[in-house]
Amino acid sequence: EETVKIGYLAALTGDWAAYGQTEKNTAQLAVDEINAKGGIDGRKVELVVYDFRGRQEDAVNAVRRLLEEDKVSAIVGANASGINIATAALVNRAEVPQIGTVSTNPMVTVDRKGKVRPYSFRICFTDPYQGKLIAWFAAKELGKTKAAVLYDIASDYAQGLREFFIKSFEEYGGETVADEAFKGAQDVDFRAQLTKIREAGADVLVLPNMGKEMALIMKQARELGMDDLVFVGGDGYAEFMWEIAGKSMENSYWINHVSPSDPNMAKFFEDYEAKYNDECKEFVNGILGYDAMYWLFDAIDRADSTDSVKIAQALADTKDLQLHHATITMDEFHNPLNKDGIVLIAKDGKGQFFKKIKPE
């Protein structure tokens, strides 16, 4: 009988290894689950995972290999916009759909001329949308007016989010009093920037960064005695941050795709722990990877074919699909339409659901 081959592009080594490994695990979890149920319409799923070290040239070769040697029907990953953009040309030429997990750059699914790339998809927010969510939350929900941003200048994700946050925040009538940067892979000390932010009198600090940096920044800010400053982050929240920053995290917010305390996700966390004997701490990547797989399963089911062109069409036609973490509908640019922002709050030593937002 027919099997469906799905490729997965994960950063198993290099700077993003922590995220990549979790994604690989959750993708495998999803595959095992579907196969245990007899596959998709009787089709067993086979997962081929390749590492790309967090590097474009590696990713390009990995994708070429997935397309040419493994002849996969679809590809999930990577967890970085840069990688998806670099591989977009390949998958679109080969007419094999690719789903970015946390690839938020608009260019992932549209080309320079603003035309949608037919075979590129994403399951996460886009930068403009998420930037707007954060700005909305800071300005309208928290009522802050003086924002500071501290972002990773070497990260496309952080640069994108920062830009769109500032734009929207100013539209909502706020003022950006400090716009500071650091260098992601190397810098671990942010006290200089924080001191400056303290001087600028910001009342909210927006951190469009990854977990490690956010945690370090929060910890160092509290060490500098900046007790009143409120932190708002994007979807970089991860459980391990508590180990680094501990109490400094309390009462901070993240505008996320999903909450770890979401009852819909409880089973996922249990299964993960049972299978890997480890907590799923990088859960945003984990869950998006996991649900990207389920989205794909659904599309294959609807397409009733392992033909990649048909699968792509089914992906594009997705409407009100109930996944584990959200219900998604594709817009014309292959982005999830007006996905709810899940606000997390750090309370009592864990990240908890705070509220759902959707800006006007």
């Binding site: 995972v49 590492d51 474009q56 040239e57 070769n61 070429r64 040309a89 080309d111 200048i153 260098k183």
Partner: protein
Amino acid sequence: MSAYAEGIFILLLINAIAAMGVSLLTGFTGIFTLGHAAYLALGSYTTAILTLDYGIAWLPAVLAGGIVAMVVGYLIGLPTLKLMGDYYAIASIGLAESIRLILENWQSLTNGARGLAGIDTFTTLPVALSFFIVMAIVAFCLINGRFGRSLKACRDDHVAAALLGFDVAKIRVASLSISALYCGLAGGLYAGFISFIQPMMFDMLKSTEMTAVVVFGGLGSMSGCILGTTVITMVTELFRPISQYRMLIYGLVLVLVMVLRPEGMMGQHEIGGLLKRLFRRGGDRS
């Protein structure tokens, strides 16, 4: 050839062009660099910007990339090439990181960390192969002759070289400029291969890889650096399925070659020379 194999082959050719540039500087001139990814970056950004924003055809854009890298190499070389040994190596890290920082900060031109997308994928196999062949011929010609000898003289003993009339500083700068040209051209082709470039692609890891490949192949051997590129590319590619262990294996291979054959795979020899010797020995026997 499958597109996968072709992709690897193209990448290999591009890497080999860059490796020849590094080899010229590190192997033949004795200047150890840990920052040559910067010239790759300059080449690819120039090419990308010229083709995307100014609509210039790819060939002149790639050439311009090489020239920009060369000019920057020249300007950097003038003040810094009097540094010796590890001092230059560490300085080159700094210089490369600075260039990367400028690329990250100069949003209007480079789009910062988010990179430039949608570059024409003009680097097809014939293109990469032709560039490689031309560049390899030039490299082999250059080192076999007066230029090669003067590089080696400056590498082995700069005082004696000066007394033979070589302006050591000038030769070092010339070597860096040509080496930057190679890397710049490779960078342009690279942009045309990946179609998307970001500053973080040209980080220190990339730089050290470029140098490691050259040492791995044999300092002072052009064919060595090509062989080195091939082996390292193959090793990383072959072990893709056992991905977690891939970098570990890469590191181990690097260490093992240094331990077992510190002079690199080819030592100072060229393939031609080895073949000739083999041939001669065979001739003796008969």
